[in-house]
Symmetry: C2
């Protein structure tokens, strides 16, 4: 393991890239803009996915699967959707290859041209609402609470592993309701699920808020979001939940018979999080030595490394390590004993620090004599000598403590980086020198929002849900404002 990660202070973007690749989370692929999620990265995503899936099911949702392809004409059905949605899509125009008569492999068969082009889904509202038209007839069919785990494609020229790739994995919930308040409540409930997941599992404090009209999802009436802060002071949108009103129901003519036997259009939500969360997790907690993973999501929670001279010592340590492994496994802890003999213990220490394994147990011959082990925690890099008696319980406590400590550290950083600004010079200075969220008055117009973005590269991340009302003046226009909003430069 050569620990050649660029330090964060030197180049944060390069640090992130080095880290993702050297820790084995992901790599670039032969296809521009698409990444390979390697086994370690996928194991992390699997843990996130499984917890989220459980939370979705606990709130009454079912999974389903809709086609990868969307007929091009569907995208034009909802006016705001097609206007606002990025048009950088992968377009399928042909359905057959044939052997090149010249012998140069295969070529596209020009005779196999599709009558209507198919778009590789960038999001699935249109194809799903087209199906819902057949599924929803009466109020008894509502609410319809469906989620899909899928890959989606949005063509990207400038990509960044996990954070922005042409193909990514995500889940998209698409629900249908009889009334507006029910759909609103669903959109807010799913935002709460995302926030809970981010904070409890990812150890990532988030601001719950609603987007300004300009930052809304194309086709939404309201877009709720959770916003997190990265160590370089930039914000990252970690999840969104949209109240879609009747827009898609009207575009696809989905009506239902009410209890009173009247035909009405259905109310909708959609909500999603993606493999971007892996990037957020890495950026929020890791350091110059490698990943720092919260124990609840770490694919491996504990690694045991033997330190030995000669076969006799090795045999003794092996026996003890197996005993400890069994004890930890029984306690539900994900543990690995790494007794590979082709690298030295110091190399292994560095390797597992790079991979962010929360706890390392080093076992040497002298430790065994004293019935102790040297235990190191990844987050603070503290070392302690722990008795081997009742070790599983101690390790379990330690893992809990690490989970909380990682959250606390991120929370402290976040709290220190929400800064109020009451004039534009201060606003700009905070963005340039300190970073983080800036809490400021805004006059509520898209013009001002755009102008601030042009001048500072900062966008309105959200209007926090728990915002206290406060009379004030817009930092740019000086016009009256009734609450502060959060600005930041963002990923």
């Amino acid at each position: 393991m050569s620990k050649e990660i660029t330090p964060r202070q030197q180049d944060y973007a390069q640090w992130y890239n080095d880290l993702i690749i050297k820790s084995g989370l992901a790599d670039y692929s032969a296809v521009r803009g698409c990444m390979v999620i390697k086994p370690y990265g996928f194991a992390l995503w699997e843990r996130m996915r499984d917890e989220l899936d459980r939370m979705f099911k606990d709130t009454g949702h079912q999974n389903a699967y809709f086609p990868l392809f969307i007929p091009k004409s569907f995208l034009s059905r909802e006016a705001a959707h097609v206007e606002g949605f990025a048009k950088e899509c992968a377009v399928v125009t042909h359905y057959r290859l044939k052997n090149d008569p010249g012998g140069a492999g295969v070529i596209v068969d020009p005779e196999a041209k599709l009558e209507e082009e198919l778009i590789v889904r960038p999001t699935s509202e249109t194809i799903i609402w087209n199906a819902y038209k057949d599924w929803i007839k009466s109020y008894r069919d509502l609410p319809l609470l469906i989620n899909q785990w899928a890959n989606v494609v949005r063509w990207e020229m400038r990509t960044r592993l996990f954070l922005r790739t042409s193909e990514f994995l995500w889940q998209e919930g698409h629900t249908a309701h009889a009334t507006a308040p029910e759909a609103e409540a669903e959109a807010r409930q799913m935002l709460a699920v995302y926030a809970d997941f981010a904070e409890r599992y990812m150890a990532l404090p988030v601001v719950r808020g609603v987007k300004s009209p300009a930052e809304r999802f194309a086709g939404a009436v309201d877009t709720y979001c959770i916003e997190a802060l990265m160590q370089d002071g930039k914000a990252l949108q970690a999840g969104t939940s949209h109240f879609l009103g009747q827009n898609f129901a009207k575009a696809f003519d989905v009506q239902f018979l009410t209890r009173e036997n009247k035909l009405e259009h259905v109310w909708a939500t959609s909500w999603g999080v993606s493999t971007r969360l892996v990037g957020a997790l890495v950026m929020a907690h890791s350091d110059d030595e490698g990943l720092v993973l919260p124990p609840l999501l770490a694919p491996l929670q504990v690694v045991i490394v033997p330190i030995w001279k000669g076969a006799e010592q090795k045999a003794l340590i092996d026996a003890k390590a197996d005993e400890i492994s069994a004890e930890l496994k029984k306690a539900g802890i994900r543990v690995k004993y790494d007794d590979s003999d082709n690298v030295r213990p110091g190399w292994k220490f560095a390797e597992y620090e790079m991979k962010g394994v929360p706890v390392r147990i080093a076992l040497g011959a002298r430790d065994l004599e004293q019935n102790v082990a040297e235990v190191a925690r990844r987050d603070t890099r503290e070392k302690m000598s722990l008795s081997l008696d009742n070790l599983a319980a101690r390790i379990k406590d330690l893992l809990d403590d690490i989970q909380q400590q990682i959250y606390r550290a991120a929370s402290t950083y976040r709290e220190e980086h929400i800064t109020p600004a009451d004039d534009f010079d201060t606003f700009r200075k905070i963005l340039d020198e300190k970073g983080g969220f800036v809490s400021a008055h805004w006059d509520g117009t898209a013009e001002t929002e755009t102008r601030i973005k042009e001048l500072t590269k900062a966008t309105i991340r959200c209007i926090p849900l728990d915002n206290p009302p406060e009379e004030g003046k817009c930092i740019l226009s000086g016009k009256p404002s009734r609450e502060r909003v959060l600005f930041a430069r963002a990923y």
Copy 2:
């Protein structure tokens, strides 16, 4: 629930289609050849996927994720692969849409043409082996045991829900090994995993075999397969596992340093099963009343239906049903209490028969007085009166019994439908009148195989792995043969 399924005797293909749609497993979509997997169908697939995933992990495999797109030129790298592999692929030629200047929605932006077309993966050997080139340097990197759960696309003109669709979901294992015997053993191990899954979970007896050269996967040295028999006497390939030799390693130049410090090409396997298994499950066990699902995979194992008159009875039954539900859930049984009041009990009975719920418990006021419930099993449609005392244990036994009974019924049918034939007239007669597998001598040539297919539409399903050697004469050519092979008409 209108039980309008076409009977099997009348039209087996229509029965299957009716059943899939009316039981809510899947439906057609707006995209030709692509289906929507509805929540009930997806819940079934999820249970299959989770069991398989556990089995893959238990045999040392890890999941990863590779790009959806494959550069067109990759397909030509392995000669047999491109020659033999179906060229009915979805081809991405452009990466952007734009607003139609004429106002008719969106059009493909002709300026956004890809330099090299991308193929939506029909299978991932090429893109994965291109990545393995960077991952594998030394014998210490081997074996590499990776699986991917993904969607794939193979353009189909004539589709059938679950059995043949343009897009389907599957898993594809791709492993790399230092030696040929290790790779061979892996290919056989994964075949054993598939067979075990089919028989223990799907209650589907399968023949384990190896394909004739003509039926091999394009690029494989040997293709192992499991073959199942459907109720109409046609065979269905339920899974394949390929020993790929060094073909892909050579095509993508993947070499490793051996222990002896020599450079050698890596040995490979790939193996996969897909949502086709859902179709096989349905076809193998279901009847004219609806689905028959093996309890181990049924999304819902027990449904409780109340039969009441008036609120007073209802309250008593509700209380008892909640008690029973809690008891069953505690025993790990997936149970639902359906006390909806908009349809009659008889309608519910038919509905849950259609959905193949293995056990139905009807609870009436008189039952409660006598401390019994009327329990009906879906597979044999037998009814029995069971005491409410210790009901969970009785239901658990019943579910076990149903699982075994479904397997036994399918096995009996399968055993009755493996028929030897020693001359071509008999061979043809069995295929036409009885169906099933025909065990016959074949001279080992592709010419004879093709001719038999032309004459009878039957293909060699496999050469069974446990085949006893037997001297004989080819049923078509009369040339000498040393073992029988299994022919059948197939899905």
